[in-house]
Symmetry: C2
Subunit: 270 residues, 2 copies
Amino acid sequence: MRIAVVAPSCTLKREAAEAVQAIVGRRGDCELIVHPQCFLLEGHFAGPDAARLAALRDVMADPTIDAVWFARGGYGSNRIAEAAIMDLPEAAATKVYLGYSDAGFLHAGLYNQGLRVAWGPMPQDVLRDGGEAAVSRALDWIVRRDPQALEPALDGPAMAFNLTVLSNLLGTPLEPDFTGVDLLIEDVGEHLYRIDRSMFHVTASAAIQKVRRLRLGRIADVLPNDPDFGADEAFIVEQWCTRSGIPFGGRADIGHDAANRVVPFPTESR
Amino acid sequence: MRIAVVAPSCTLKREAAEAVQAIVGRRGDCELIVHPQCFLLEGHFAGPDAARLAALRDVMADPTIDAVWFARGGYGSNRIAEAAIMDLPEAAATKVYLGYSDAGFLHAGLYNQGLRVAWGPMPQDVLRDGGEAAVSRALDWIVRRDPQALEPALDGPAMAFNLTVLSNLLGTPLEPDFTGVDLLIEDVGEHLYRIDRSMFHVTASAAIQKVRRLRLGRIADVLPNDPDFGADEAFIVEQWCTRSGIPFGGRADIGHDAANRVVPFPTESR
């Protein structure tokens, strides 16, 4: 099992790459190929758009690579996602693509092309408290589809997205077909008024109203609201579900933390 | 000329209301009716949704009111905008509706119903440095349609929106028809990566791609980007215009500041 790491958003920290290589070495059941592009830095990004795109296209086209693991989130994968899914090489369809947060733009585009994608921990997560467990969980799923790695209440087709990323891909060519899926959302580093605004936007979308249920992961590192917002994230999300007629399916075990679980996107008829 | 002030988003400061009343008193060409709802406070908002909606509907239905002036921005008008435009009373069509920022959700919805709306300074702006000029500019336009108040390069049908508000109303029932308009945008208090992400989202929208041109107002109080983003707001906006094929129409004299000008939405065939 050969796993390639590329960074379509922001730069991977070298100490994270080294720590994950050490974990992989101890496991002995896979090989990790960290693309040098991961360490590029140009402004906000892990190198210019062209370099991030080229690295991703490289590993997608490589028939010896079994999985593409996005190094980390941040911001930037939307800038290359449409180009990444054009004229796909045959080898692109033989792999799985794992990541979360900003990688959602790629998840959506790759899923639209019939590729196998999954939400789950990324290499840079090794630097979190308990990060080795997060990385091991991702590898357990990549290498042997360990069901212990999965979000525990998955029940039928599901997708997972960062709420703000989801809001920003609606109406773009990356928008996937949400019909009948359980949609798991989470967010990090937002004010509650922004969570409320994103929920307004997302639940008003005709595309989103086709989901089976909406489930709420963790809303972490909420920024202070002045004055206090007056409601918590569960109340906000349930209220917008009620207003839009989308069934609320309860909490979900995903988030920007070491406990984040794997959510494979639907593969039926793929 | 009777001008009603309501607060569909956040609470108006009493000292702002008093300062604007003083300006109106000195002018002697209009009367300002500040709805008591403006001073309500419930969590983030100027009172519960029901109170903000009722105040807005009150003044919309009042045939003695010539203009509805939104007290200030913040967040919250999206929560009542769809209800505000249902079963419109006849008197709603005889007025003009002025404001900006979060009021964009209402602008869009009211415009869709054929009402006359305009982007422009709000009562709370009186508290800014140079705020009396901003408020006087808005009143000059409300009372006598003073062309000096207008954004100076307006040339044909135009709309103005806060970029983040615009991003959050696309695909909702509030989305207006942008065909052939000059679209003026501005923003405040965002990181540049968020401006880039919102520009991706907005320019990828089929609805937005119908504009004649996109013009860039001020991007104020930009939050620090770590690392430095690597491009300024003008580069970001022009780049997304180029990528999406939307003509870039240069800078615009609007923003979250005392220099903010008035941009009336199209009224042809209305």
